[in-house]
Subunit: 274 residues, 2 copies
């Protein structure tokens, strides 16, 4: 079972990569440095967890993967922009990500800022240019809310305020919710919306995505010995992570057997070690 | 005449300010620093030239100013984000803008980057949340193209490449076109689109906006003794600016007398001294 899932995830990530390649400007197009910087960060070994969840949510709602591909790629572009900006010297000052030099280490700080700006802009461009206007408007509205000061940007701002200080549980949970869970929440929700699912299905997908996102972040913390795992110890972190994944899977009850693959992905996220 | 136009421009800028105030998160909302930084830069004495042009273009196409207000504010939010990021230490490293300390001087570099990111995100949020889906999709598509690597971001990237070097005329024109004229072009065009104008009217408005944008940038260069004025001398710069404004006004022929106010604004842009 697990082997089959892995192959499936690789196949799905491949389809996302192919679509991203279509949506991104070519490296040789002027100004080349920015386009190279954008592609360097987008194709740097990301697992494509969010877009895979979006596509799988669409399929679970009886849609085609194709229906959700634009929204899925927009989410991945926004995720990538946020990593580039978070890594900057004035933010988290990271030299490496996924074992490779960060965007600003390769292309310089100014180009990294611009590459991030361009990826964020491109995300809304592909939605506006390639989706049905009504569904596109719903996707752009929710995605911009998850990415703005009531979501990702807000989470990073609070994270920065606390940098160096010992953060309390409530604040840490809030940061994880805003920085990570919100984008997971819209990934599955907008997968459903892109497939034309109704309000009830979209809400169930949102609940699933939010819990899976918190679990994903907690596993990250366990792997890095950071955040939640540092505050509570690995054992409690593992237990809470398990509860979150159970909660996530329970939210999918409304879809019956059609949701099996999403449940398998949730288990896979809980069990990953790197 | 000129006095009446000035009053009119002030009135129109006031309406834009009021709408921007509605669209921006309140300062007291968490995370407060980011919301303060966003508002600091949006309300720092900008002339609101682009949104005024958008609203006036809508009126010229027999629409209501209200029709174009969301697109107009989205354009101003994107203009403001680009100023914040351009001023950063790793970009143009400017300490002051319009006589006030730049965003990063007041709130720090990280918060300035995030405030810019949030303004760009908010621009697409208000379009998606507050416009008719079909018109909103057209506006978001064109605006994201003008703001991305084939527009503003691309112009800034080329500008950075040349920093410190003596730039040639062709490159300078290209930078001005991408960094300034594109956003002017979409300001008037999207004013028309927001008012439901047809393709011919939108194209005429785009031509007007692009020429006015180049003229606006040239006047900036004359005032600062920079760029175009430095390469060619003030006299030729003034002459070329005059030609651009004539060209701009000629593009409005299709609107007859309804376009008088836009023509007056073009003259006003040519004659401004600060």
């Amino acid at each position: 079972m697990m082997m089959k899932l892995k192959e499936y995830l690789e196949h799905s990530a491949g389809a996302v990569d192919k679509a991203l390649n279509t949506f991104l400007p070519k490296e040789k197009e002027e100004p080349t440095t920015i386009h190279k910087a954008m592609r360097y960060s987008v194709f740097s070994g990301g697992k494509r967890v969010r877009p895979i969840l979006a596509v799988e949510a669409a399929r679970t709602c009886c849609g085609k993967p194709k229906d959700a591909m634009v929204a899925a790629c927009a989410i991945e572009l926004i995720h990538t922009y946020s990593l580039i900006h978070d890594d900057l010297p004035s933010m988290d000052d990271d030299d490496y990500r996924r074992g490779k030099p960060t965007c600003h280490r390769v292309f310089g700080e100014a180009n990294a800022i611009l590459a991030g700006d361009a990826l964020l802009t491109l995300a809304f461009n592909i939605i506006a240019a390639r989706m049905d206007p009504k569904r596109g408007a719903a996707v752009a509205r929710e995605l911009s809310e998850a990415a703005g000061t009531r979501g990702m940007v807000g989470g990073q701002a609070i994270d920065l305020e606390w940098q160096g200080d010992d953060v309390d549980t409530k604040t840490l949970n809030n940061i994880h919710m805003l920085k990570t869970a919100k984008l997971f929440e819209v990934s599955t929700k907008l997968g459903a919306v892109s497939a034309g699912a109704g309000r009830k299905a979209a809400a169930a997908m949102a609940a699933f995505g939010a819990s899976v996102g918190m679990a994903f972040q907690m596993v990250d913390d366990i792997i890095d010995g950071d955040g939640y795992a540092k505050l509570y110890g690995e054992e409690k972190a593992r237990r809470d992570c398990e509860s979150l994944v159970l909660e996530a899977k329970a939210a999918l009850a409304v879809f019956g057997r059609k949701a099996q693959r999403l449940k398998d992905i949730a288990d896979y996220i809980e069990e990953r070690r790197k």
